[in-house]
Symmetry: C2
Subunit: 261 residues, 2 copies
Amino acid sequence: MLYFIGLGLGDAKDITVKGLEIVKQCSRVYLEAYTSILTVGKDALEEYYGRELILADRDMVEQEADEILRGADISDVAFLVVGDPFGATTHSDLVLRAVNAGIQYRVIHNASIMNAVGCCGLQLYNFGETVSIVFWTDTWRPESFYDKIKKNRDLGMHTLCLLGEGRKVYEPPRYMTVSQASGQLLEITICVGLARVGAEDQAIRAGTLSQLATCDLGGPLHSLIVTGNLHPLEVDMLRLSAVTADALQGLRAADSSTYTS
Amino acid sequence: MLYFIGLGLGDAKDITVKGLEIVKQCSRVYLEAYTSILTVGKDALEEYYGRELILADRDMVEQEADEILRGADISDVAFLVVGDPFGATTHSDLVLRAVNAGIQYRVIHNASIMNAVGCCGLQLYNFGETVSIVFWTDTWRPESFYDKIKKNRDLGMHTLCLLGEGRKVYEPPRYMTVSQASGQLLEITICVGLARVGAEDQAIRAGTLSQLATCDLGGPLHSLIVTGNLHPLEVDMLRLSAVTADALQGLRAADSSTYTS
């Protein structure tokens, strides 16, 4: 039997009683090492379970699945996953390989962020599609998550934003903070403030919503534009009145492909 | 401390190790008795936990919250919930009462259907709004779940349909089956089959998709209409060619209010 066992979200004791009993009796115990982190490390888990854990990173699961499945038809092998086994990464590939090899499998569920998020008081029923917000780089600023959030809001739904990992091969993972994610979201909303239009001292300032929140455009009358899709020519124009040189960095990477000029 | 402890989805051993330790040490242990069921009953839980459990039905949680909270500022009280504590019913009311009474609370998460459903192989990321399908009666046939499913499908999202409880006060609960829910979904899709229109032996049959699937309209040519919103007059007309007398029972209750005649 191949057991997929969820470890929950906190520490070693968040495994279920059933899961712990199975871990203690399996011939080999793998620990999935790539989708999420507990507050404790492998050593603490090994000590609490009283078992040696074999770290299984993405490469191993994809390329050495046969090794993981070895002997699982005649003995028990456990595959431990932080959260629920079918939360973030579904292990469909490993399941299908097991089934094809005539090996039975069983899932021991546990909490994952997809349901535990209900602790904040928002109804799980009212969540739409979950999105992932990834780290932006100077040249890669994907914004598809924004459109999904907008779709959800249009339907009156909440959106759970899973915050990105920035791991590159052979680098330790880095985890996005709520502050970083909020900053990226703020940068997406490009606005234009206008004051005293037509007067000699008219002022136009383009920037993110947060930039404009601290921008003094002087006496009345003021107007504010919240931009939608932007034509590349519009972007060029807005740059003329950008609050700061990099104020419009957040402009949508898809712009030039959205419009044909 | 007031502990909200998730029990998971299966049997007594699906509680987490942490949850079990807390249950054993609390001065009183309540078992929420109204949102879901385990495969085992209260007796089996009491035996495994080694603790007496106080059943807390909806009335008690709403009307005797003070009794549940009694002494939780100086000792520990546990409130057990099948699945995750913030899965189906959020216990926001109880949380707020505790906080207002100066009682600290803590949540011990566990699996619930909202995340465990990932075991079927569909990505949790790709689920839209969750819907509830309730038992229809002769006079009450709500279909709002259909519109939500459609919205999700329009966005390319899967829809988890939680199947209704039919409990009335002082009656044992009954639980909707997949078969019953599928039947209700099938009844919603009213279609019209037409054969040899204009010929002497033309045939028109209106019914649910499943009825038309077993309906022989004879020789060619055939056409099929999948209906959208129906005007009350259209409904009257379709009844003339209904496959069976009750074929159009499933027609949308909202029809007469959707249109003004």
